[in-house]
């Protein structure tokens, strides 16, 4: 394509096409500019701008998803199809919840800065574009735009040694993973002569060695990002060290977003028979390892944040079961189950961390199991909410977490992967132990010295309460009413295989 036609093709339509991401970028820049021009003691204005931008992107994505809009923009660099819009909606929802949890906690830690919201918005814009990318170059840049702000956010409480350590660790391992990804992209470009995802298949005939090496490296890069075993080492450390609102953000948005690009590359780029026969068994093995290792190590954790880190590894495993089943069945409906799982996962994780934030005080987090002893008697509502989220994470009906697992496992049974499903269900049973351990600490354990436990709502803010109730309502309502989100997800995944407009 020559320059004149390439430029003539660009216009308002392209900008409107990527508006969910553009909106976030502009809001991020606005927050930075406003804070520079008019520094304010209270950063709530920044929080409100961020929330408005995220809500705007959320509703734009949902609207486009509902009407089935399918837009290619910027010379087919991105495609905002229902698949991308569904991921955009999930991510914007997750980030909204994460932003709601932040203001009071950061204020307690004396790092309530406008930059926090700007960095979150930049990161989210990267995530939105990541799921929409149509070529690997774009995908890599979007992934980096998503990751780099998060490295900083993990170390946001700068005087805290653990936070700094976690940030450093996460940064180094993340850079390492990015190296794998770039190497893989380079090899695939060498094999296929193009970075466009739907044309990658050409590379298999031309240079199988390059193609398979590139595919393996790309897969390793993605598995790092989603925290699958054996590339999971950073997860618990980063989760534990990061300020809790950032952990919330990482456990939902940063967790869900890589799946968008990964599913696209796997099913569009490597979705043909020969390649699928290679990556699908590998993915099954990794799913088994991820679930088992994550759950077993979570059993012995006493720190709830660290335990949730291992639990998030285990949940990656369940999601990979769904991906493997979708590959076996060649069914987009099975992929829709994965999307639904991510949606519910975002809600229940947000809530769990939200309750931890609620009882964080000025100089101490309430992360340890012992910190929650007696919560059931002293603060019944908070304990009840926490119980809902933990039961949902365990997978108890009629909560959302149960239906998420149910759909994924039933597709896996349809695909004939009975041993895999048996392992997954055994893992769910194991996971019940450590989730129930938290519930046990809240309701059935007494403080050792016999005194009444004292809980102050030091992390209380209207934002946080809104976030807790919203996610609890979501987990219950969208669990019982699972048909509606599932239907939307099915529309979304169906678009994955339609040719771009």
């Amino acid at each position: 394509m020559n320059f004149e036609t390439a430029v003539a093709n660009l216009g308002f339509r392209d900008l409107a096409g990527i508006s969910p991401a553009l909106n976030l970028i502009l809001a991020g820049i606005a927050i930075l500019a406003l804070d520079a021009i008019l520094p304010m003691r209270s950063k709530l204005l920044s929080a409100w701008i961020a929330l408005l931008a995220l809500a705007g992107s959320l509703f734009a994505s949902l609207h486009r998803l509902a009407v089935g809009a399918d837009i290619s923009a910027f010379n087919h660099a991105v495609r905002m199809d229902p698949f991308a819009n569904a991921f955009s909606a999930i991510i914007c929802l997750a980030s909204t919840l994460a932003v709601l949890s932040a203001p009071k906690y950061l204020k307690l830690r004396e790092v309530h800065l406008a930059e926090y919201y700007a960095l979150i918005l930049f990161s989210v814009s990267g995530m939105v574009l990541f799921g929409a990318s149509q070529d690997l170059l774009m995908m890599f840049l979007a992934l980096e735009t998503m990751s780099i702000p998060v490295y900083c956010l993990v170390g946001f409480t700068r005087t805290n040694v653990y936070s700094t350590e976690a940030s450093m660790k996460y940064f180094l391992i993340g850079a390492f993973a990015a190296g794998f990804l770039v190497y893989g992209i380079a090899l695939l470009y060498g094999a296929a002569g193009t970075v466009r995802i739907e044309d990658l298949a050409v590379g298999l005939d031309r240079a199988p060695g390059l193609f398979y090496s590139g595919m393996a490296l790309l897969l390793v890069g993605f598995l790092f990002k989603i925290g699958a075993v054996p590339f999971h080492m950073w997860t618990p450390d980063a989760y534990e060290g990061a300020p809790t609102p950032v952990t919330t953000f990482m456990a939902e948005a940063v967790k869900a977003a890589p799946f968008g690009g990964m599913l696209k590359v796997l099913f569009v780029g490597f979705g043909f028979e020969e390649a699928m026969q290679v990556w699908q068994p590998v993915l099954i093995g990794i799913a088994v390892l991820t679930m088992t290792v994550g759950n077993l190590i979570a059993l012995v954790q006493d720190d709830v944040k660290r335990m949730m880190g291992y639990s998030s590894i285990a949940h990656s495993g369940y999601i990979l079961v769904g991906v493997a089943a979708a590959a076996e069945l060649h069914s987009t409906d099975a992929l829709a189950a994965v999307l639904y799982y991510l949606f519910i996962y975002v809600l229940m994780n947000a809530g769990t961390f939200g309750v931890l934030i609620l009882f964080s005080s000025k100089d101490k987090d309430a992360n340890h199991l012992d910190d929650l002893v007696g919560l059931g008697r002293e603060r019944p509502w908070a304990a009840a909410l926490m119980t809902v989220f933990l039961l949902s994470l365990t997978g108890i009906p009629p909560l959302g977490g149960f239906f998420g697992k149910f759909y994924i496992f039933s597709y896996a049974i349809q695909a004939g992967m009975i041993p895999l499903v048996v392992i997954a269900i055994l893992n769910s049973v194991v996971s019940a132990y450590y989730y129930l351990k938290v519930i046990g600490a809240m309701y059935f354990r007494e403080p050792e010295d016999g005194a009444r436990a004292v809980f102050y709502f030091e992390g209380y803010s209207v934002f946080l309460i809104a976030m807790l109730w919203l996610s609890a309502a979501g987990v219950v309502y969208w669990g019982i009413q699972s048909e509606t989100p599932l239907l939307l997800a099915e529309q979304a995944t169906a678009s994955l295989f339609k040719p771009a407009p």
Binding site: V7, I25, L38, F74, L113, L119, F122, I148
Partner: protein
């Protein structure tokens, strides 16, 4: 005659230098020697780009890698100033042997693919402007506009992140919220200042002076 084979000779020369430099980075123990070898390797690759008539990429490689990145390496090496004892003895560990084996096996897998990729464009190769700044600019601002612009957001985010992590004092000197600011303005115009407060303020100022 010599001009016909000159590109080939240069290619093999610089390719050897690039590989030799990279090997030397891996095997030398003195970090300074490693950094210097890296420069050799990076510059040889830049010259290979020139041989492919990708002038812009070649110059960018020189400026960014040899210019900026290696300088940063050297800066850090000199800052740490490791002594011979701290560096330890260079030993052949199992891990290194495994790494070498892995590298060789990757080479064995990739090599056949590299040979088969060479395909001329049906139109008879690239045009005369190929590889120049203008051509790269056209690509960046045409076909790859969005990735290019996203890079700017990436760099902006990295810059903000760096400032947040490294700045000594994050709380601004002048602290006021919008409401604070309006109140201060009202205060200056002495609309809202109560008589007692005014007195106390004057008294305080007087006390300081004494």
């Amino acid at each position: 005659m010599i001009f016909a084979v000159l590109p080939d000779i240069l290619f093999y020369l610089f390719a050897l230098l690039a590989v030799g430099g990279a090997l030397s980075v891996l095997t030398r123990r003195n970090p300074m020697t490693c950094a210097a070898s890296l420069v050799v390797s990076v510059l040889s690759v830049a010259l290979l780009y020139f041989l492919l008539s990708a002038h812009f990429v070649g110059v960018a490689q020189m400026i960014v890698y040899a210019g900026a990145i290696v300088v940063l390496f050297i800066f850090v090496i000199m800052l740490l100033n490791l002594t011979d004892r701290e560096l330890g003895r260079g030993r052949m560990t199992l891990f290194k042997i495994f790494g070498a084996f892995l590298a060789l096996s990757v080479l064995a897998i990739l090599a056949p693919g590299m040979r088969s990729m060479v395909e001329l464009e049906p139109s008879g190769g690239p045009g005369p402007a190929y590889g120049g700044t203008a051509e790269v600019g056209r690509l960046l601002f045409g076909e790859y506009l969005l990735p290019f612009e996203l890079t700017s957001i990436l760099i902006l985010a990295a810059m903000v992140a760096g400032v947040v992590l490294a700045k000594r004092d994050l709380t601004p000197k002048r602290l006021f919220s919008l409401i604070d600011w309006l109140l201060a303005l009202a205060d200056r115009l002495s609309i809202l200042r109560s008589p007692q407060k005014r007195e106390r303020k004057q008294g305080g100022a007087g006390g300081e002076a004494e």
